[in-house]
């Protein structure tokens, strides 16, 4: 296998691992927070439905965590196995957040184990709630630290290169790079948003399937309220991210928006196709890109004409950007209509077709996560460290990457199918109605 093929297969394998991992990782970041909120509401309202909600989510969460942990281990090692030159260089500057991420992960792992196995040991639910805080904090902080590493790859700083040597290294400046605030905030907000939508989809699915239990209604209302909050947060932070790109990574924004020429009063293109350097069939919103980039109608936005041909990312990232934004907007509207509709008593939000939309929202939010990450990552091509190290110079020289790609693809297939089968079996065999009955019998026996 030649060098070019090694680079190609390394990229495919990394993309495959990450695309698979982020499904579980995103859920892994968001769900502990949702469990914590449900547990807290359960205690506050003294409503056992919410406590049970927390428990059932936690039980399913274990399966997703397991897959998240093992695929996370895989990508952690693959960074060194597939990109040894990158890790050698970046390790000098960015090892600190990587290292801290493992601490956060450690912390979460310990308390998740304790939480899961002390369900019946603490009579006091408040104590049990306390155990959830480190789980949720650990999960979110591992996302924070690992996103800092990714932000560094987009905006490397905190060192000087003199004659090929790294000097004046400052790990903290590397961590607090300009890409970091928007990236971290967007990753967290969208992870919470996605988890809330996935959980809402489950509740809506049960209601759609004929259950009319109050438990599912409470679950749906709670998760849709959370979805709304985090959708709005994601959109606001997404706008900041656009402004960040205009300032620091204009080639990514220009490629995403098909902004070919540098100009003022820049319009925004939605959808469309690119033919022979012309944008066709697109919805053109005048001035919108100038507003997105610089909050001003007339601001000048840098176009692709300012960059050498071999330093611009592939133009197909426009589609990814559109998918992400369209889904984001759609889900924000959907959750807003549901929450307002439930509050005002509009009957259509209880209709089957509306619940069908909510069920689809779970899948859509995950698609948006994938599209968003692909956009962010492909948008930084051809660099692995923007402006410093090109992707093709960072890959391994080993000749067996194609074989490893096959092996890992098989692994992810098994894990994907396995987790779906186990999760659906787990909940189908033990529906909430049955579990509530069991608990009543148990408690009745105890108090009599």
């Amino acid at each position: 296998m030649g060098k070019e093929e090694a680079v190609f297969f390394s990229r495919v394998l990394t993309e495959l691992t990450l695309s698979f991992h982020i499904i579980y990782a995103t859920i892994g970041v968001g769900i502990p927070l949702m469990i914590m909120i449900a547990q807290w509401i359960g205690i506050k309202k003294n409503d056992e439905h919410y406590i049970l909600l927390a428990r059932r989510w936690a039980r399913g969460f274990v399966i997703t965590v397991a897959v998240g942990v093992v695929t996370g281990t895989a990508i952690g090692l693959q960074l060194s196995l597939l990109w040894p030159n990158f890790m050698e260089l970046a390790g000098n500057v960015i090892a600190l957040p990587l290292f801290m991420e493992t601490f956060a992960f450690f912390f979460e792992a310990i308390f998740l184990g304790i939480y899961l196995y002390t369900w019946d040991r603490f009579e006091n639910q408040k104590k049990h709630l306390l155990l959830l805080i480190p789980v949720a904090v650990g999960a979110s902080f591992s996302a924070v630290f690992i996103t800092i590493v990714n932000a560094f790859m987009n905006a490397p700083q905190g060192f000087d290169i003199v004659g090929g040597q790294l000097i004046n290294i400052n790990p903290l400046i590397a961590m607090f790079n300009p890409a970091m605030p928007t990236k971290v905030a967007h990753v967290l907000a969208t992870a919470y948003m996605t988890s809330a939508f996935v959980l809402a989809a489950i509740a809506a699915f049960r209601l759609l399937k004929g259950s009319s239990h109050i438990y599912h209604k409470k679950a749906l209302y709670l998760t849709m309220k959370l979805s709304l909050i985090f959708s709005i947060a994601s959109a606001v932070i997404g706008d900041f991210s656009g402004k960040y790109l205009a300032e620091y990574q204009p080639e990514k924004l220009a490629a995403a928006e098909w902004h070919l020429e540098t100009e003022e009063n820049a319009p925004l293109y939605l959808f469309g196709v690119l033919e022979d350097g012309e944008v066709r069939y697109a919805i053109k919103i005048p001035f919108a890109l100038s507003i997105l980039a610089h909050s001003s109608l007339s601001a000048e936005v840098i176009g692709l004409d300012q960059f050498p041909e071999d330093e611009i990312p592939p133009l197909y990232i426009h589609y990814l950007f559109d998918i992400m934004v369209s889904i984001g907007v759609w889900l924000t509207v959907l959750s807003a209509v549901y929450v307002i509709g439930t509050w005002k008593g509009w009957p259509f939000v209880r209709r089957q077709w509306f619940r069908g939309f909510i069920v689809a929202g779970g899948t859509l939010s995950i698609i948006a996560i994938e599209a968003g990450w692909w956009f962010a990552e492909v948008g930084r091509q051809p660099w692995i460290l923007r402006g410093i190290l090109r992707t093709e110079d960072a890959a391994t020289t080993s000749g067996q990457v194609d074989l490893m790609l096959l092996l890992f693809a098989g692994l992810y297939l098994i894990l994907g199918i396995g987790s779906i089968v186990v999760l659906s079996r787990m909940f189908r065999r033990n529906p909430v109605e049955k579990e509530l009955d069991d608990r009543h019998t148990e408690m009745g026996g105890e108090h009599s």
Binding site: R59, I63, V65, A66, V67, V69, V70, G72, T73, G76, L77, Q78, L79, S80, L81, L82, P84, N85, M87, E88, G91, N92, V93, A95, L96, L98, F99, E101, T102, F103, F105, F106, F107, A109, I110, F111, L112, G113, I114, Y117, T118, R121, F122, E123, N124, K127, P134, N170, P171, T396, S398, M404, F408, L411, I414, L415, G418, S419, V422, M426
Partner: protein, 342 residues
């Protein structure tokens, strides 16, 4: 003590932590599968599940911690080991992934698939074997530089007696450590049958452990004379380790003080592990890479050590809580659920 030595000591300590907890985990899977095969599943399964469930994820973190720390403190190892280990490390990852997810699927999802249990047990043997390859490679002689890029000679690696001795040693160690620990755990659970069975396994695996350990020292003399000479310098550590080993076997034989027996075992492996590590000094990959020429810059080293100390302040109490709740809690170990406080 220089920053380099602090760095490698910290990492060696975490690697040791992984070896200890992962051995218990891997060995438990093997014994579980074996007892199923011989129709004695009911004897061991409960004990093993009760111990493994709350800790399996923590075990994984020790490994992640080690390799992330390695690249952090010694970024050049990413270049050397990253390039040559693509195949062996990928196989290890895949096995670990199947094993970890299977455990969760089986425990929290559905129970009792025979085929999976065997796979789980087998992977417990293959993972230590595939990971111990790294130790062999680090002795040198299997890697050459071609156009400044390291290339691994698989043929030399797989035909070397040193490779196979290290593989056998790792397997014997896994089974021995696991059996001794589980004997203690089963005894605490007052599970007579499980204790007896595991005690037998512990005694069976003690002999191959010592034979291979001695064999490796002899083979090192031929393979890497420098390492052998340095090993002789620390002969007293190895001797002490051997005395602790005798103590463990004696206690297990006499059915006395299983807790102390496990303590002696931990001491035995600590001494042997550090004697091996110290004699390996200063090489990370003989003869290309020492801890000095691969070490990160001073600013990063200091911030990593600060992060490490801060992290330990969080971790040690948390780990202590975990052990208190699941290892030193008599009611949990015996499988009884007790309501605490109110």
């Amino acid at each position: 003590m220089t920053l380099e030595v602090i760095g490698i000591s910290v990492l060696w300590l975490f690697l040791f932590g992984y070896v200890l907890v992962a051995s218990i985990d891997f060995g438990a899977g093997v014994f579980n599968a074996y007892s199923l095969y011989t129709g004695r599943k009911h004897i061991l399964t409960n004990i093993i599940q009760r111990y493994l469930s709350p800790v399996w994820e923590v075990t994984n973190v020790f490994l992640v911690f080690f390799f992330v720390g390695m690249v952090g403190f010694f970024p050049k190892t990413a270049f050397y080991y990253g390039t040559i280990l693509l195949v062996p490390a990928s196989i290890s990852i895949i096995l670990i992934a199947i094993r970890g997810s299977y455990y969760a699927f089986e425990t929290y999802g559905s129970r009792g698939h025979m085929g999976y249990t065997f796979m789980y047990g087998l992977s417990g043997l293959f993972i230590p074997a595939s990971l111990s390859i790294v130790l062999t490679i680090s002795e040198g002689g299997f890697v050459t530089l071609v156009n400044d890029h390291p290339v691994l000679d698989y043929w030399a690696l797989f035909t070397s007696p040193l490779t196979w001795s290290i593989v056998v040693l790792s397997l014997a160690a896994v089974l021995y450590i696991s059996a001794v620990f589980l004997t203690w755990y089963a005894n605490k659970a007052q599970d007579q049958n499980a204790t007896e069975l595991l005690r037998k396994y512990a005694l069976i695996w003690a002999a191959p452990l010592m034979i291979t350990a001695a064999g490796i020292i002899v083979e090192l003399r031929i393979h890497n004379a420098e390492h052998y000479a340095r090993m002789l310098d620390v002969w007293w550590l190895l001797g002490l380790s051997f005395i602790l080993f005798l103590g463990t076997v004696w206690l297990i034989w006499k059915r006395k003080k299983y807790g102390l027996a496990f303590g002696l075992l931990a001491g035995q492996f600590t001494l042997a592990f550090f004697a091996y590590g110290i004699s390996h000094y200063p090489y990370l990959l003989y003869p290309y890479l020492t801890i000095y020429d691969s070490f990160t810059n001073e600013a990063m080293a200091i911030s990593l050590i600060v992060a490490f100390i801060a992290g330990l302040c969080l971790l040690v109490p948390s780990l202590w809580l975990l052990l208190r709740l699941f290892l030193f809690d008599k009611n949990y170990v015996r499988g009884r659920v007790k309501k605490e406080d109110s």
